[in-house]
Amino acid sequence: MRNPLSIEVKLKKIPAYVGMTKIMSYHANEKGYYGEFGGAFIPEMLYPNCEELRQKYIQIMEEPSFKEEFDQLLKDYVGRPSPLYFAERLSNKYNTKIYLKREDLNHTGAHKVNNTIGQILMAKRLGKNRIIAETGAGQHGVATATVCALMGIECVVYMGEIDIARQAPNVARMKMLGAEVRPALSGSKTLKDATNEAIRDWINNPVDTHYIIGSVVGPHPYPDMVARFQSVISEEIKAQLLEKEGRENPDYVVACVGGGSNAAGAYYHFLDTPEVGIIAVEAAGKGIHSGESAATSALGKVGIIHGSKTLLMQTDDGQITEPYSISAGLDYPGVGPLHAHLFKSGRGEFISITDDDAMKAGMELSKLEGIIPAIESSHAFAILEQRKFNPSDIVVINLSGRGDKDLQNYIDYFKL
């Protein structure tokens, strides 16, 4: 039932799309560009690997045996479909109709695993027998270590030295799952540096290794490939909403954006449906202009990070700066090129949320619905205080992950 490509094919046949100037214009073109953003700005050492992937990824994803294996694992191992839950008390409070897409109920506790399942199957078909990944908070590292354990493949996860210290439980999880966690000691010793180290590892191991990148970032074809793996989220939303509301399209889809993978998945099948509003929520940290923020759309300029032309936080001189957010998963100085394009084109509405407002929203969801969200996801809920919706609007909020990993943060913040 679930294959991320079938709906795309179906959509192309819907008459409403005929006559639009550009069909599927919010998707990557052949060279991986979303408008002016994307591409593959990579040193020649990475060219053979990225090129191999570029030539094969769509073909592999469309193979019936691949789809079958992917769907099966998402169902039996991850626990999909994730429920679309009508949040009645939250809806009453904000006087609109709010549905939660429960990615928090996935195995390993977040949407990240949709991508790692897809990529481990891809790696196997490419004949790779060693996996590397980067991680910030550890969620993507855990999701990668998990699928490597599942497949019996060697796994090395790069993680900033500072993040290793502040995310100890996830480090322990990765170790239990058999992964080697290597500290990134360069630069600011956080997510962007872990990504640099993973890329350097790939340069040094071009033949046997596949790099499972954790979001819709990096050189083409990664943003598009990861978005396709995550697109199962919006594919399910359509089917579930049809069942519950008699319509496929909500009025709004809301998601937090770090690199942008849960958001890309939640928007994917609505990108070219203009009547569905797209709301992207970034982390303002201690305030957009506080100097401690990760609100890339507000603070970023066009540039190149990790092989992709996109919006990124940088100095006037083009040095990449260190972002800040209370949530380690939103603490990335760029956004995926899809999101840069959604911002620049006006297709997406971008809102940024401070640490304080996110923490309050996380507490509120816990109290009203009995769901403790990941702090990343809390950012998406915080817009309800700032953005008015009509009582008849259907608003789907992507609940990207659960809050277990953030308990210490909640404890410290609320002095629990």
Binding site: K31, G39, A40, F41, I42, P43, E44, M45, Y47, P48, S186, G187, K192, D193, N196, I199, R200, I203, N204, N205, P206, V207, K301, V302, G303, I304, I305, H306, G307, Q314, D316, D317, G318, Q319, I320, T321
Partner: protein, 255 residues
């Protein structure tokens, strides 16, 4: 286009030694002295590293020198200021090597114009890919007389090497092995067969080998077939240990 200093140098009947160092390292104001001492010591080409916060293709030695240089206060405009009078004292080819983002932020055309003004002969921007260069920037580079140097690696296909050869008008930067920058101890059979393979392709552009060259032995191995070799990390280590001094000793140790 009139011949630039790189093209002239490549015609000399000898193996070329190129040295990379990071601008503003070890001290902010060392850039000019290091260039002058390298020329005096008999080096053939110099690659001036424009430091970047996230040097993806570099190993720990050049990463550290870049971080240090940035902390020292190095930035693009300052590098051009430091180089403003360089052609009064130095005549060998000068190449700026860096990552694309700082160049992009400066403005590619403005950057190229400045390069011409101070007397830079070429650029090496490892993360500016061939197709983007050709579609968007080649005409600008040419207008300002700059040679763009492309990299190839042992994994680069013959077809792509030919395309790169076609797009080049100076030399090809032959990365010795699948790796980031950093000094290694020697070259094995894999490298030798790669060196042979490239030599047999009879490319129109000469090749200069880089990555993993640290002493006279590796220099000789790398240049058995190729036109020259580039030393980076090993020279940075020298600067770290000795400061901008005894540069001639280092160079004489190579050949």
């Amino acid at each position: 286009m009139k011949q630039n200093r790189i093209q002239k140098k490549l015609q000399e009947d000898k193996k070329l030694l190129s040295i990379y160092f990071t601008a503003g390292y070890p001290n902010l104001d060392d850039t000019v002295k290091v260039i002058q001492d390298l020329e005096e010591s008999g080096v053939d080409l110099i690659e001036i590293g424009l430091p970047f916060s996230d040097p993806l293709a570099d190993g720990p030695t050049i990463q550290d020198s870049s971080t240090k240089a940035l902390n020292n206060g190095m930035h693009t405009e300052l590098l051009f200021e430091q180089l403003a009078a360089i052609r009064k004292t130095v005549s060998i080819p000068l190449i700026i090597m860096g990552y694309f983002n700082p160049v992009f932020q400066y403005g590619v055309e403005a950057f190229c114009e400045k390069c011409k003004e101070v007397g830079i002969d070429g650029l090496i921007l490892p993360d500016l890919p061939l197709d983007v260069y050709q579609e968007e920037y080649e005409s600008i580079f040419k207008e300002y007389g700059l040679i763009n140097v492309f990299l190839i690696t042992p994994q680069t296909s013959d077809a792509r090497i030919k395309a790169i050869d076609e797009a080049s008008d100076g030399f090809i930067y032959m990365v010795s092995s699948a790796s980031t920058t950093g000094a290694k101890t020697g070259f094995g059979e894999v490298q030798k067969s790669y060196f042979d393979r490239i030599a047999n392709m009879q490319l129109k552009n000469p090749q200069i080998v880089g990555f993993g060259i640290s002493n006279s032995q590796t220099f000789d191995q790398a240049t058995t077939k190729a036109k020259g070799a580039i030393i980076g990390s090993a020279f940075i280590k020298h600067l770290t240990e000795h400061g901008p001094e005894k540069i001639a000793d280092f160079v004489q140790g190579i050949r």
